[in-house]
């Protein structure tokens, strides 16, 4: 890795993972600091496997992962200290209250207790959960649980936030709230990587988009760059120019046989 690459939020090179069949193949990915990167792809494309490898949950068969210059495979604890991961199924405990959950997560990331408590209050307030802070999560709706999990992901103020389908199960108001929070985070210099099946979200929010299918990155760049890329491969010949058109064109072309 060259000196310039040290400043990148995430650099993935030659990532490979095979379960019963190849899930991710020779994947290269670069995410710049302070950008919102959307990773899109059809079901089973390898998005979640890729993100799980970046988060340190799945060990790649081959390749390298660098997070803010830290070799995530050689020093996972250092990489995890600056990263947060929120999957589509909220990782929470039904018998804990949101406040107790945040206390536990802050403990895992060794956040100073007084600071953690203040931050927990702020996050729950922002996410509209302040009134539920001392109620056990067992009766919460899926959307509320998602918000608690998101608060957990933000409690240690991560430099890199990785979200897998963050808007699943959220109502319109909550979805807007989360989108605004993510945008504010990016505006403040944070880096966000997310996967979503809601292409409008990626179209509106993402600085750059990566499209993955069959475990391979088919295209990457801004929406304009993707349009241009798709144009070269045949999109636009009778198709429109929305992200949906581009996505369908690219994934149809690049889908494995």
């Amino acid at each position: 890795m060259g000196a310039a690459s040290v400043t990148e939020a995430l650099i993935v090179r030659g990532l490979d993972k095979t379960f019963a069949k190849p899930a991710v193949r020779e994947l290269d990915l670069t995410v710049h600091p302070g950008e919102l990167y959307a990773l899109l792809g059809p079901n089973g494309a390898g998005k979640t496997t890729t993100l799980r490898m970046v988060a340190g949950l799945t060990k790649p068969d081959k390749g390298s992962i660098s997070i803010f210059g830290i070799d995530a495979l050689a020093d996972p604890a250092a990489a995890k200290a600056v990263t947060a991961w929120a999957p589509d199924e909220a990782m929470i405990y039904d018998r804990l209250t949101p406040l107790e959950y945040l206390e536990f997560v802050a403990g895992l990331w060794n956040v100073e207790p007084r600071h953690a408590k203040a931050r927990a209050g702020e996050l729950l307030e922002t996410l509209g959960l302040a009134s539920e802070a001392r109620r056990r999560c067992e009766g919460f709706s899926r959307g509320m649980k998602q918000k608690v999990a998101l608060a957990g992901a933000l409690i240690h103020d991560p430099r890199l936030l990785i979200l897998d389908e963050p808007l699943t199960g959220l109502d319109a108001a909550s979805a807007r709230l989360v989108k605004d929070m993510l945008q504010a985070r990016v505006d403040a210099g944070g880096t966000v990587i997310l996967t979503t099946h809601i292409l409008e979200v990626a179209e509106r929010m993402a600085d750059r988009i990566g499209i993955i299918a069959g475990g391979r990155l088919l295209a990457e760049g801004t929406l304009d760059a993707l349009r241009a890329h798709a144009g070269k491969t045949g999109a636009g010949q009778g198709g429109g120019d929305t992200l949906e058109d581009v996505f369908l064109q690219l994934t149809a072309d690049g889908a494995p046989a």
């Binding site: 995890k80 405990y93 804990l96 209250t97 536990f104 997560v105 403990g107 207790p113 927990a120 001392r134």
Partner: protein
């Protein structure tokens, strides 16, 4: 299946049986094979015992007298109590375990059909458990000269039906009385206590003392022999039914079937309403804490310990199961305190100390399985920078702390009565709890908290290792208390060697967990 009319009881029953069968056969191959081998060995041992019993009872003619009728009644009461503890738990769980309940209740199938089939499943399950134990023991006696004793199986079927009806009615009554929030907890505790009652009654000799219990049994036998024991005619039915007399057997089966049908059909609608009411009931159970504004725990160890203790304390099912195991300590505690108080009974003291050490290990092992293997959010821990060792230490501490608290009072009392015994017992119990906790660290097998009751999720190897090591440490403690401290080093060394053999490195643990 196509021969059965869709929506009818046989059709739904066939569906339930198919699901149950697939749940049984869908287990992992290795666990299934291990369980089958274990069951086959157990069946063979029991069958051998059954043949011996059968040969011994070949010429025996059971007399229909008050004493034998009283024994038959006591056996029925015991079997019914044990069955009721299972059916009550199963009936309350049926309300909360949604599974396909929403699908069934949203279909045009009558709620009473659904309950009838569920109740049949409960009754069959309870009866099967008893048949598994009774058949190999009494089957040979039936074949070797007492075909009329087949009536016993009919009596068991009648009791299973009656216990299911009572369990269902009791669950519905509790639901009406205390609402959906508390029914599950109360039913679980009641079921556990009902089961434990049988154990405590079986320990009457221990609890009452040898002399008092012997004089009680002697006076009962004398009353029977002198013809003073009066049993009403209906009290002879169980004995006569067991001995194959058609009329009492049919009467008992009719009572069982009638109460079962009545309960299942009359409670069907209520069951549907109650099942609907349980949805979200636990949400309202979560009352907000009042005005507590304490500081956050700092660091991985403190935060994890606090989280684990909270989860243990808030799990009513887990607590009732742990308390049940503690209840089994009562007779032992009585022996210990009685003998320690009298300053005699060295052997009983040693045995009692051994039992405490063994149970401390078992409870600690169970809690360690909960905290270590039944982690609800393993990915959260995996993505955090927290060192695995810190997490494990905190989880182990969370498993050992309740054991220490449970033992504190009885050991404190014993310290006052027999200080040396108390010290050996405390040392042994601490070592046993710690060893069983460590076994669960080394041999983790991810599972769900809900599987705690039967330890279905845990590794059978770890469970066996816990039993062996805690038994060795129990023997160690017993020998030390009995004054054979040098001999105690032998089982202690064996336990140490076993622990060395069981030990796994961090890499080995991580590798196994990755494959799990």
């Amino acid at each position: 299946m196509s021969l059965l009319r869709p929506g009818g009881v046989p059709w739904l029953l066939a569906h339930e049986m198919r699901l149950s069968f697939r749940a049984l056969t869908g287990k992992r191959a290795m666990g299934g094979v291990g369980a089958m081998i274990g069951l086959a060995i157990l069946a063979l041992v029991m069958l051998s015992g059954g043949v011996v019993i059968g040969l011994a009872l070949r010429k025996l003619d059971v007399p229909v007298i008050p004493l034998s009728a009283a024994i038959a009644l006591a056996c029925c009461a015991t079997a019914f109590t044990l069955m009721l503890s299972q059916t009550l738990a199963a009936a309350s769980e049926a309300l909360y375990e949604r599974g396909d309940l929403d699908l069934l209740f949203s279909s045009p199938i009558a709620p009473r059909t659904v309950l009838l089939v569920r109740a049949m499943g409960v009754a069959t399950g309870v009866l099967t458990v008893f048949l598994i134990f009774v058949t190999p023991l009494l089957g040979p006696a039936v074949i070797l000269g007492h075909p009329e004793w087949l009536g016993l199986f009919g009596v068991l079927a009648a009791l299973a039906l009656l216990a299911t009806a009572t369990g269902l009615t009791l669950a519905m009554f509790l639901f009406r009385l205390i609402g959906p929030r508390r029914t599950r907890t109360v039913a679980q505790v009641l079921a556990a206590l009902t089961g434990a009652a049988f154990f405590l009654v079986s320990q009457v000799r221990t609890l009452m003392g040898e002399r008092a219990s012997e004089s009680l049994f002697q006076s009962l036998a004398r009353e029977a022999a002198e013809g003073r024991m009066k049993i009403p005619p209906i009290g002879y039915w169980p004995l006569k039914a067991m001995l194959g007399e058609p009329l009492p057997l049919l009467a008992m089966l009719a009572i069982g079937a009638a109460s079962f049908t009545l309960a299942a059909l009359s409670l069907g609608k209520r069951f549907a309403d109650a099942a609907a009411a349980t949805q979200g009931a636990e949400a309202s159970a979560a009352k907000p804490a009042k005005g507590r504004d304490r500081a956050f725990a700092g660091g991985v160890f403190a935060a994890t310990l606090a989280k684990e203790l909270r989860l243990i304390l808030r799990d009513a099912s887990l607590l009732s199961q742990v308390l049940l195991r503690v209840l089994y300590l009562v007779p032992t505690a009585v022996i210990l305190s009685r003998n320690a108080g009298h300053g005699d009974g060295g052997a009983a003291l040693a045995g009692g100390a051994g039992v405490v050490v063994f149970l401390a290990g078992q409870v600690a092992g169970s809690l360690a399985w909960i905290t270590l293997s039944a982690e609800e959010s393993p990915d959260l821990l995996a993505v955090s920078p927290a060192a695995t060792r810190s997490l494990r230490r905190a989880k182990l501490a969370a498993a050992l702390l309740p054991v220490a608290l449970l033992l504190a009072v009885p050991l404190g009392l014993l310290l006052w009565l027999a200080p040396v015994t108390a010290l050996w017992t405390a040392l042994g119990a601490g070592l046993s709890a710690w060893a069983c906790g460590l076994i669960n660290v080394w041999h983790q097998k991810p599972g769900k908290r809900a599987d705690f009751k039967r330890r279905r999720g845990s590794s059978w190897f770890a469970t066996l290792a816990e039993v062996v090591v805690s038994a060795l440490l129990a023997v160690t403690t017993g020998l030390a208390v009995a004054g054979f401290a040098p001999w105690a080093t032998i089982p202690l060394a064996c336990a140490g060697l076993a622990m060395l053999a069981l030990r796994r490195s961090d890499e080995q643990i991580a590798k196994v967990l990755r494959l799990a």
